[in-house]
């Protein structure tokens, strides 16, 4: 049985088809589900084995990227999402999905052991404006560093994929206590540390953080788009022989995990 993946289509989500393609290739059975269908009760989170919050510009990034979608998640689905997270099923938020997970307190989620959706007045972390002050689309190199995170566990190879965001600068209140939850970091193309330097670290994120997971390791949020490197010809240097489809293993990890739940 292929695990069923719920791909949440919010008002302004736009990388839903990209995520669906990646999950399909990774062996899942993805369904793009408009948020209102969940509100109407015609779909339920619990009927799926995986949850994907894809990239886009929910509510046009008004009042801060992911903020208004986070309010939707809290207002409409707080219990369902908490149950999903606590059950240990794989959840991934990419780009705008990551922003919504952070702004709703699901990530980093240390306070979320109980109430899953933490107090939004005193968040642990945020994704703020890129250090260079503008949206940027470029290919980056990521190093998977977490063995706790079910999405990155056992991934030995670097991931190359694009970033495309203006608010991806990860900042946290008590960074030291987050170290265990760092899942992916930006590195130089040869794998050496970026040390915060542009363009390897494209947005000025603290500790070169590209993705973080919750303490349990089943919820991953990341700014880059591994779903846009799942075919060999997507790599910018494929005409020079580079080809890895290195975005795919991350999704395969998640799908494999969901399949054995």
């Amino acid at each position: 049985m292929k695990p069923k993946a719920l791909i949440l289509l919010a008002h302004g989500t736009n990388r839903d088809h990209d995520a669906a393609e990646a999950l399909r290739l990774a062996g899942a059975d993805p369904e793009i589900v408009p948020l209102n269908l969940l509100r109407q009760g015609r779909r339920r989170f619990g009927d799926y084995q995986m949850l994907v919050l894809p990239g886009g510009f929910s509510y046009a990034d008004a009042l801060g990227a992911g903020k208004l979608l986070a309010i939707d998640l809290q207002a409409y689905f707080s219990d369902q999402i908490q149950a999903f997270v606590v059950s240990g099923k794989p959840v991934i938020g990419i780009c705008n999905g990551f922003q919504a997970l952070v702004k709703s307190g699901i990530l980093p989620g240390r306070r979320a052991a109980s109430p899953a959706l933490a107090d939004d007045r005193h968040p642990e972390a945020t994704l703020t404006f890129n250090a260079r002050g503008r949206f940027e689309c470029r290919w980056v190199t990521l190093k998977p560093v977490s063995q706790t995170c079910l999405w990155t566990r056992g991934l030995a190879d670097l991931i190359t994929c694009p970033v495309a965001h203006g608010e991806g600068n990860f900042q946290a209140v008590e960074a030291d206590r987050l170290k265990e939850q760092i899942a992916l970091v930006y590195v130089c193309p040869d794998g050496s540390p970026a040390h915060g330097a542009y363009p390897a670290n494209p947005n000025g994120s603290l500790l070169d953080i590209a993705g973080v997971c919750n303490p349990a390791g089943n919820v991953l949020g990341l700014m880059p788009h591994p779903e846009n490197h799942i075919h060999p010809w997507q790599h910018p240097l494929w005409r020079r022989g580079a080809s890895a489809m290195s975005g795919l293993p991350l999704f395969e990890n998640g799908v494999r995990y969901a399949a054995q739940l």
């Binding site: 008002h11 736009n14 408009p34 269908l37 801060g64 404006f129 260079r132 002050g133 503008r134 020079r240």
Partner: protein
Amino acid sequence: MPFYRFLVCPALPDNPRAASLLSDARALGFDNLIRIEPQDLYFIEGQLSPDECQQLALSLLIDPLTQSVEWAALPTGAAEPPPGAVTIEVALRPGVTDPVADEIVRAAHQLGWAGVRHAATGFRYLLHFEPSAQVDDAALEVLVERLLANAVIQRWARGEIEPIFPIEAASSDEVEVLRLRGLGDEALLALSAERRAALDLNEMRAIRAYCEREGRDLTDVEFETIAQTWSEHCVHKTFKALIEVEDAGRRYAVDALFKTFIRAATEKIAAPWVLSAFVDNAGIIDLDGENEVSFKVETHNHPSAIEPFGGANTGVGGVIRDVLGVSHKPIANTDVLCFGMQDASFDELPAGVLHPRRVLSGVAAGVQDYGNKMGIPTVNGAILFDRGYAANPLVFCGTVGIAPRGLHVRTPRRGDRVVVLGGGTGRDGLRGATFSSMTMDAQTGEVSGSSVQIGNPIVEKGLVDVILPARDRRLYTAITDCGAGGLSSAVGEMASQIGCEVELAHVRLKYPGLAPWEIWLSEAQERMVLAVPPENLPALQELCALHNVDWMDIGEFTGTGRLVVRYHGRVVLDLENEFLHHGLPQRRLTAVIGERRESGLQAGEQHPKVDCASILLRLLAHPNIASKSAIIRIYDHEVQGGTVIKPLTGVQMDAPSDACVLRPLGAKGRAGIALANGINPEYGKRDPYRMAMAVVDEAVRNLIAVGADPARIALLDNFCWGDPLRPETLGALVQAARGCHDAALLFGTPFISGKDSLNNEYLGADGQRHAIPPTLLISSIGVMADVTDALTMDLKAAGNWLYLVGAFDPTFGGSHFHLVSEGGHSSGGEEAVPLVAEITPRVYAALHAAVTAGLVRSAHDLSEGGLAVAAAEMCIGGRLGLDLTLPPGDPARLLFGETTGCLLVEVEPAQVPAFERQFTGLPFLRVAKIITDPFLKVNNNDLLFVLPLADLVAAWNTPLQP
């Protein structure tokens, strides 16, 4: 009702927004500013307790980790500016689209603060000047209007600004009757001018005759509808005019440029894979037998001149709707932008014109905002600079779409409902179609403020989410977008055969108080009109609810052949379709074509000695040639996952691709498309005929360079010209249209869509007219059977050979060499611009055969800057050196002269015999060997110069900041 004011400040004063504002201020010459602190303002009208205000501020308006907030009830009274700083506050004019404000009201209600009635947004700037600076009111006003606020859409104040919310005006049902019967010529013209209708005497007489025939006068709704329908923008009357041409002593007539040159070329070529040309909102070609792709390019020049962000933003939104209007999913955006020189001084700009720097940054941000938020990759374009664009920037926006074949429908049936999907209707964009058909002057911004629309891409994203499944479920029988002319044009076109009745009272308004003609003509964005059989309404309604899309049923297609519009039951428009759509008298215009000026050096003649190395570096750094990465990277070119050849390529991903290659999701196998363009105003100034030939060639050649099939290329034409009533201007247009025709036939590349934007002129306060250089954009789309055949332009490996293929005939006429050479060499500007050689299509066919046979490792076209720039760019791409040997002749001409029809092609030594066999009987030359040493070495008989690769990279990466 109480008002509250919320001030949001960044926690760190040294934030990127502050830095970028300061750098803009410096670039515009405001040197006495030492710091600018930008802050955000929100105004809320409603019943809120202090505790609710506090909660709302903290949980909705700020990011607690990076921002702080303070709030107060209005008027706050106090608000002393911090010592040493000047406070400027900026807010939108009432009625200007403010999507953030709408979201605040929605989210506040969602969170339980039902007392919130209205919201508005604004900015606050604390300006810190040098202590010695003398900043009087006049100087401050200049600074604010040049840097911080645009009076077209914004108000500003020193100190605290008062919020203004849309006024709840009483509904207006005012319909004016305009007397036309019996009016004399002068009165007719006065009426046209008074209503800014841009109709000439013949047209006004035709309307008067219609009135006399029908025995009545016209309502304002009817008159405005005719004016929009007959506008240059909507009906392209210059391209349909009968033109008397005086051509170097010969006289002849051209009966419609469009029919004679553009459509004729398509008909003569008769390509079976062209599925729709000139009929629909976008041209359509076959992709892979199962899917079709559409392509449309529009201009949005006048709006971008007065409000760069909104103008470009809605330009992108509009062309996306064109593709939705053929029931296609938008898969790629293109944008070609022309600006005045970025280092222009304010003294050299005509009064009332925004600085070209500000136009560029606003336009780029507008393109970015709409494309990125819609999730459509922006993958191809160009940016050009010329003094002539300072008062008239050009913004060409293009969109490509895809759909399974055979799903697009275009015939409403009797009884179908007229359904409008999308945003509400306001006063935005009134008379946009006629506005874009007029010359601008310093008052244009003020008078036409209401012509400027601000986009809301998320609303349009909702339209895509509804229309594609509605198409698949065949819920509608016809569809079109609301563009220029608004409902009048969209509904009018859809009903042009069958007729319909509309009730304007059913149109959802953004705010009350609109007169019926304003509702009917409003160009409010993000709306589509569908013809929906009544039994399908519930299904469509459900789709709309799922995707937060508003819809309204405003009438019925009737089968009477008349367009009837009511307002609360009263007929306000009742026009015969035949008159509205075919009653426009053909314009009769006069064109004069002068002798082509050719003097100075002739081809082959020795050019005065120049320092070739220094010229090359100057060319690489010229704004037209240098890297556009600062702008390319603010566009998402990866979303949808189909971008195979990206705008920037090579080892460091910083070299310019000739074209983009896409493999759209849903295409069969590895089928895909390539997109490129050709544009050259320098040639346009000198020889419009040769310019047109050359830009068609360039648009085609760019596709050949990435491996597209020359037998499957279609073209789009976009003419941007000055006032066609001037015979010389029209003469140049005739020549360019003829050039399009001849080039299309030469290459067998049909036109599938096109547009023209005329009257790109600005009347300065001194009475001087500022016209743009004659500018023709050719956009090209090519089909590729297998995208993995695609080539990039970066050199691949040392030891490979570089060939120059094509009829190499370098000339200095209109060359960029001429632009960067100092003094003495200007005679090059008088030479003829390059002609396209007859043999060129055979060269492209041979190269394509070599590419599909796997004989080619990289290819790059020779364009601005000639052979030297093309070779340097390939070095930059591969971070490899070249040892280049010139053929006999003047080295400057060979290196920098410009030619059509030529490419540089990299071939491995083992493939040399097979490659050369492909070119038997065709012009080719082995010119260089690729070397590991990081140098570009150029030899003629001796070593001419050696330039380190690092110098080439540095020159090419001369920054162009958006």
